[in-house]
């Protein structure tokens, strides 16, 4: 008999949740022998999965989920030393998570998903909003001999002050807030697989996904490390498309779709996109 498991995909708009799901469905449907999780049976309704996987296979931009197109996906999977699972993965829109930040409330439906979650995949696109401080910028200017005059912008014009709004909050702060909401509502210790999507954009930096988060989002790194009694986490770099769309489309279409996928955990690289989910389901 299969165990029920519920994996929640969390992330801001454009963070790669649906593309991940599309690539996951293609991989599972191929029944490749190299993945940690394997499909044991087809889902009853596969319309949505087939639609997004079709876009993914064609190296097209996978249609983003919005509040009106949220879907609940059920996958029947099995893994070595994991057992069989009926895996429920709701494809929630990034807009819904942005609304949590701005409106400070969550739908009862989303709350129920949090209550049931076996684990969470937190997605972040590497193009993060860093919230650069003026003191740092000015110090850098002083170091390299910049000559911007006080009270003037780089173009020499006096600048207008823009009012504060939540949209200007750095990415790491938004993600911490989403995790705080999660921890507040989750009834037990939570497993969080953090996925840095579009990993192909940053892999040339020569750092591991863990090091990348430490470098680009140091406060999030501290939050994850110092709350180990409340959440267990691992960081993955995942390129579900394998490159930039449309720039790399022709090259990507020339290689086997399974080979396009890049998954990095620590120093290990593979094409196994089921790894983050397998990590969440591991018995410990």
């Amino acid at each position: 008999m299969s165990n029920p498991a519920h994996v929640l995909l969390i992330g801001l708009p454009g963070s790669g949740k649906t593309t991940f799901l599309a690539a996951l469905w293609h991989v599972l449907e191929e029944r490749s022998s190299t993945t940690s999780l394997k499909l044991t049976g087809l889902s009853v309704d596969r319309t949505y999965l087939n639609q997004i996987a079709e876009e993914w296979r064609a190296c097209s931009q996978v249609q983003r989920t919005n509040l009106q197109t949220e879907e609940m996906v059920v996958l029947h999977v099995d893994g070595d030393e994991l057992g069989a699972f009926d895996l429920t993965v709701p494809d929630l829109s990034g807009e819904a998570f942005e609304q949590q930040l701005t409106e400070r409330k969550t739908s009862a439906h989303h709350d129920e998903l949090v209550q049931r979650a076996t684990g969470v995949i937190l997605f972040v696109h590497p193009d993060v909003q860093k919230g650069t401080q003026l003191t740092q910028a000015r110090r850098l200017e002083a170091t390299i001999g910049g000559d911007t005059q006080e009270g003037e912008g780089a173009d020499g014009n006096a600048s207008a002050i823009l009012p504060w709004s939540i949209e200007k909050v750095p990415t790491q702060v938004k993600l911490i807030e989403l995790l705080q909401f999660l921890l507040e509502r989750a009834p037990r210790k939570v497993r969080v697989a953090m996925v840095v999507s579009a990993w192909d954009l940053v892999e040339s930096l020569g750092v591991t996904p863990h090091e990348y988060v430490s470098r680009e989002m140091p406060m999030l790194r501290q939050f994850l490390d110092s709350n180990s009694d409340l959440l267990e986490h691992a960081v993955f770099g995942v390129s579900a498309q394998g490159g930039s769309i449309p720039a790399d489309k022709t090259a990507l279409l020339a290689i086997d779709a399974l080979e396009r996928i890049q998954v990095c955990q620590g120093d290990e690289d593979s094409h196994d996109i089921t790894k983050p989910i397998a990590w969440l389901l591991e018995k410990r």
Partner: protein, 317 residues
Amino acid sequence: MADELDTDAKETTTTTGAIGEPAFVDLFAGTALNAADADAVTLRSPVQLVVLSGAEGSGKTTALASIYERLSQGPFAGFQFSGSRSLLGFEEVCHLNRLASGSTEPDTARTVRTQDAAYYHLALTGVAAGERRRHVLMSAVSGELFRLARNSREDCERLTFLHRADAIVVLVDGARLAMPEQRTNAHADASGILESFLDAKMVGASCRVEFIFSKLDRVLAAGQSALAFLNTTEKKLEAKFRPRLPNLTFRKIAARPAPSSSSGELNDGLADAFVSWTALEPRGAMKPWMQSAPPSDAREFSKFGWRHFEQIEGAKP
């Protein structure tokens, strides 16, 4: 924060949908905390309260913002960031020091004058292995209220949160110390604020009190006479308050030094200050204010220390 999940869950409310089912679950606001919010935090966990006081423009909010800014870049003062119930509040006070603000010079928005204090929460964990999570609240009160408190005992007595403070920081405005026509008043403002607190009996015997000479970079840039005045001011404040405040300390910081200043020593000033403000009492030490009932006129938040203490006492077998 997250280690109080059960209590937090009880606090959340649901909004009923049209068909009778709860449609939404309210989440915490994330802004600076009011007294009731601060009270809720303190009922769940022991909290250290740091009150930043000083005249208008003395650097209270900048100090607060700088602590958060440093944490956003990595561990600070031996602490890792573990969470905050007021992340948006911190972000807002940091806004004028962000490129996204459109500003070209670092600045801090003045604290809006209200009757009540706002509180900024940090959950912190020491970087050393085995350290437990701690909670710190830092108060933000407009300098105008401290000016009123300096002028009137009645106004001073309204600042009831002072009773509960683990540390009271009195900022002496370094920018004014740098200006000959302003420096004596800068000294007098800071001294007068603390004198008012003591006169109104708002400072507990075990409360740490620290005079902070802020904007040290401005003092140093103004030359030897400004620095000499600062040193003289420190001696005078020491002579005036030490007999009444055995835990009195002095410190010089530049929370947000100018790019041209030598920053190493100045940066350490804020880290050392924060360590000092948040130093823990020896285990089992009972504060004098815990040994008696809270004053009947105390506002809700100022009573929280007693409440938490009562809970601990009540939980003993």
